[in-house]
Structure formats: C-alpha cells, structure tokens
C-alpha cells in the first residue's frame, strides 16, 4: 500500500472500521512510514478533541414547555373532533366518576331551580284568550360559561352535562315552541374542572325562557312555528 491510499483509510482504521485484511496492510505500512504515523496521530488527537467537546444540552424547562404545547394541542384536537359527525365525545368509563359528580351538581341545581320556578310561575300555564289560543309558560335552563375566559364557549364535561340536561328538558317539553325570550337569573354557582394540568372554572347559571304552550289539537299544524 502506498502512503496516499493508507491515509485515505486512517480515519476509519483507528476506529476499527476497516476489514482485517485492510488493517493488516495499513499496519505493515505504518511500521515503515513515519509520516503516516504522524498523520495517524493527527486523526487520533482530532477524534479525541471531538470527544472532549462539551455536549450541548436542552434547557431545564424543555419538558415543561413541551407538555404545555401538547396540552394545547390536545385541547384543539378535542374541539375539532367534537364538531366532526360520529366523533362526538361520549361518556367513558374512566371519566365516569367526574361526569357523575358533575351530573349530581347540575341535577341538584336543577331541582333547586325547579322549586324556584314553581314559586315564580303558576303550576298550570295561563290561558290567554280562550282554550284554542297559545298560553304562556316559563321554563328553566342552565348555561355554563368558563369564568377564566368568558369568550370561550362552554366545552368539556360541564358544558356537555348542561347540554344533556337542556336536551332532556327540550324533549320533555316537545309540545312547546320557544318565544326567544331569555333571562339570566342570579349569580349561579362555580364548578371547577381540572384537565391536562389546568383548571377551568365554569359558572353554571339558570336561564328563564318564556314559552307559548300550544294546545294539543294545534300541535301538528303549528309544529316548528316560532312565536
């Protein structure tokens, strides 16, 4: 082997990356050639210098920042999925306890409000102008709005529980149509929900909605009409 060829192998030779045959040839040459031995020293010291270079490390808060980003991504992901048909979040067994606790709060509030409603309005709807005319009635609904950021729509568990509750009430009052008059009542109660390391506080408030009760014989003809 000549010097030029040997030098092209030196960087791999001392790292043990050459074949045994190549290594033997290089060693034979190195025994005779001082210049190539010096060249090998340069490679060795260069490699040692690279090994001694201080390793670059990420900052201490790297994981905290990464997990905060993941938390935001998770939130955005759930929001998108909620609007996709067939992918509406359902009650899972792992979150059953949370949902159950929320349901108890909301139902307790609902029962309390129902009692208030009974005090506010008569038990039977008032007949306005005879038996065939629509009569007025009121109903209680619940709203949930995050306290931390009022611009955000109510999402996650509290919002879902309230939505379920409102749907149930809507279904049970299917003979009624909304008059569109709503009024927020009282200060409501605050319900906190911890998720992905952040706590969101929702203000759950009752809403009084005025209804026109349509007599049963007019229901089919006026179905869907909004007064």
């Amino acid at each position: 082997m000549r010097c030029r060829k040997v030098r092209s192998f030196l960087s791999t030779y001392f790292r043990g990356e050459t074949t045994p045959d190549e290594s033997a040839k290089i060693e034979r040459h190195l025994e005779e050639c001082g210049s190539c031995r010096r060249e090998l020293e340069v490679h060795r010291s260069l490699n040692a210098a690279f090994q001694e270079m201080p390793t670059m490390k990420t900052s201490d808060d790297f994981n905290a920042r990464l997990f905060a980003k993941i938390g935001q991504e998770n939130f955005a992901e759930k929001k998108t999925k909620a609007y996709m048909p067939g992918r509406v979040p359902r009650f899972g067994t792992t979150k059953l306890a949370t949902y159950a606790a929320m349901a108890v709060i909301v139902l307790a509030l609902g029962i309390g409000l129902q009692l208030d409603q009974n005090l506010l309005s008569p038990s039977s709807p008032q007949m306005a102008n005879g038996p065939d005319q629509p009569a007025q009635d009121t109903d209680m609904y619940l709203t949930a709005q995050p306290v931390n950021n009022p611009l955000m729509n109510a999402r996650k568990s509290v919002g879902q529980v309230v939505q379920q509750y409102n749907r149930f009430r809507e279904y049970s009052k299917s003979l009624r149509t909304s008059s569109g008059m709503e009024q927020l009542m009282g200060d409501g109660i605050n319900a906190s929900l911890a998720s992905s390391g952040t706590t969101t506080t929702y203000r759950v408030r009752p809403v009084v909605r005025n209804y026109l009760v349509i007599p049963e014989n007019n229901t089919t003809s006026n179905a869907g009409a909004v007064y």
């Binding site: 791999t12 490679h43 270079m53 670059m56 490390k57 990420t58 790297f62 980003k69």
Partner: protein, 200 residues
C-alpha cells in the same frame, strides 16, 4: 432474563404512550432530547431555534403516535423528523439571513482571543463542523458525535450505506485538513514543546 435493548425499550415506552401514558412519553423525551440537541445544535442553528425544532419533533411524534410502524426503530423516526425540520430551518435561514451586529462583535473578540490560545479548541472545532457542507455535516454529526451506527444513519438519511460511509469519510477528511495545524500544535504542546512567544 434477556436484557432489554434500547430499541425494545423505546417500543415499550411508545406502546404505553399510545395508551395515553404521559410518564412514558416524558421518559422517551428524556432519552433523546439532549442527543438531538447535540446534533441539531451544531448545525449553524441558534440554540433557541434548535430547542424549538426538537420540541416540534417531539410534538409531531406525539400527534402521530398511533401511526408508528413497530417494524422500524423509534430513534430513526424521531431523527428523521427532527433533521427534516432542521433542514427546513437552514433553508429558511439561507433565504433570509439575519445577523445581530452585537453578536458579530462578540464573535470577533472570541476569535481573536482563541487565536492566541491554542488550547481553546472548542469554538474552532464547532466552527469547523458548522462550515462543512450540509450533507457531510449531518452524516458526520450522526456518526461521530452521536455515535449512531452506519446502518441507522443510512436509514435516517434514506441513502445507501456506502454513501453514508463516503460522506462521513469526506467530512473527516475536510475537518482534518482544516484543523491539522491546531492538532499538530496540540500534540507538540502535550509533548512539552515550547511555542514561539510574541513579546510585542
């Protein structure tokens, strides 16, 4: 009991991550964050930017955790994502180059000090690595700085094994040419030779 390899450990952790285990994901991040920093931080990218790239790589891993094919190495996947992001950043930097005038002044001072002190090799080595052409630089960083096997470097870069070996060898050769005087000086110093001293 057979010892769990790094690949098996990564796969086990990733399976746990797929089930929603964030502690496992934290462990995966800890296993690779500094290794990635040691590679990407040496690619003529600012420290803050390198951290952002690594964070983005982990974020993408997390987003696409369910799509990972367990036939491959997790590290190959992670490095491929991170290096693609780093390449994009380098391309963007090439297009719009911002130079802080105060940084330039500091660099000049550092270089002049370093030139008089041969033992201060760090910045010279870092500068030599940064000045390598991109394809040689990445191959060199993965093989010689991160000590990744040639086969895995080939998979990360999606090039044949022979090409990787040739690129690494070429990078070493360029670095040797650039740093040879310093290395000879260093070797001479370690053998007790005196350097010429400029008194004026």
């Amino acid at each position: 009991m057979e010892k769990e390899t790094a690949k098996d450990l990564d796969h086990r952790l990733l399976r746990q991550v797929q089930k929603g285990d964030m502690v496992a994901f934290n462990e995966l991040v800890n296993r690779y964050r500094d290794r990635l920093m040691n590679v990407i931080g040496r690619m003529r990218i600012s420290r803050e930017c390198a951290e952002d790239i690594i964070q983005e790589a982990f974020l993408r891993v997390y987003q696409h955790r369910d799509k990972f094919d367990f036939k491959h190495c997790f590290s190959t996947w992670l490095y491929t994502i991170a290096l693609n992001l780093a390449r994009n950043e380098l391309r963007r930097n090439k297009k719009y180059k911002f130079v802080d005038i105060f940084d330039m002044q500091n660099k000049e001072v550092e270089t002049s000090v370093e030139a008089k002190v041969p033992s201060n090799l760090g910045p010279a080595l870092q500068g030599a690595i940064e000045s390598l052409p991109e394809k040689y630089k990445i191959a060199f960083l993965l093989r010689d700085i991160d000590e990744m096997p040639y086969e895995e470097v080939a998979r990360v870069l999606s090039v044949p094994l022979g090409t990787v070996k040739s690129r690494v060898n070429r990078a070493r050769s360029i670095l040797r040419d650039k740093l040879k005087p310093r290395m000879e000086e260093r070797n001479a110093l370690s053998k007790g030779a005196l350097l010429p001293v400029n008194l004026f």
